[in-house]
């Protein structure tokens, strides 16, 4: 559990670093304006930015580290799948199907990230979500079997997300 002040200060620092990166300006007036508005926005939005029941400090660092690794895994998968889709565009060898898959991830944020990753990987789009079932449109369906399709689509992505969000 974080205290209220800690959450406020963390939000302020994130906003302020964004201001510094975007404004590229170290003059006192610019810094002052940035600090003032960062504080104002932090005061209004710290409750949404860091939820009160969001884990301990050590766990937060681990989560950020794993998320960074996850972005690289996702980029790797994206490029493999892109090459596959380019091949499909050239040969027009497609077999589209809508399949339903089930995920083991429980937390809402985890499911949202999984659905977005499936959409971001070329060849598959998440059409709808009901509870922990995802409806996925698949450009080249190798199988329509429930379990096997889930294994092929989620594969590595869910393995990594499962380590972050359980």
């Amino acid at each position: 559990m974080y205290k209220k002040s800690v959450r406020l200060v963390l939000t302020f620092f994130v906003l302020m670093s964004f201001w510094l990166v975007l404004s590229q300006n170290l003059q006192p007036a610019s810094l002052l304006i940035g600090a003032f508005f960062s504080f104002l926005v932090a005061l209004l939005s710290y409750d949404f930015f860091i939820k009160p029941d969001e884990g301990m400090r050590g766990r937060a660092i681990r989560t950020i580290w794993l998320l960074l690794v996850y972005v690289f895994v996702l980029l790797y998968e994206m490029f493999l799948a892109s090459i596959d889709v380019v091949y499909r565009v050239i040969t027009m060898d497609i077999n589209p199907e809508v399949v339903m898959i089930k995920t083991d991830i429980k937390s809402d944020l985890g499911i949202v990230l999984l659905a977005n990753s499936i959409t971001l990987t070329p060849g598959t789009i998440t059409i709808d979500i009901e509870g922990d079932h995802l409806y996925v449109h698949w450009l080249y369906a190798r199988t329509t079997n429930f379990g096997h399709a889930a294994e092929l689509i989620k594969g590595r992505l869910e393995h990594w997300l499962g380590r972050i969000f359980i």
Partner: protein, 98 residues
């Protein structure tokens, strides 16, 4: 050198993604190539620009654009696919050989 390799890779992806919009039969399959191949292509392009620029304040800004693209692109294509599904557009199927 590596930078130009990335940029050319991005352009190739975007080219075939756009070609797919013309060639594929229905909205879902077109969405597959148009949004996804273009996302991969744009990311390759931006990474190429970052490598070319080196560790700089400009490449930091490019990194922010890249993160923004990674977050918003799937949401947009998911919204289009879901609205098509709600309107009852049936996905195109390959004709089975009898």
């Amino acid at each position: 050198m590596i930078a130009y390799l990335f940029i050319i890779l991005g352009l190739v992806f975007i080219f075939f993604g756009t070609l797919g919009i013309i060639r594929f039969p229905d909205i879902y399959t077109r969405l597959q190539t148009s949004s996804k191949c273009d996302a991969a292509g744009a990311i390759a392009l931006l990474v190429g620009l970052m490598v070319r620029e080196g560790l700089d304040s400009l490449s930091l800004r490019i990194l922010i654009i890249l993160m923004f693209l990674l977050l918003t692109n799937p949401v947009a294509s998911h919204a289009i696919a879901r609205s098509a599904a709600i309107r009852g557009i049936k996905p195109w199927r390959k004709k089975k050989k009898c």
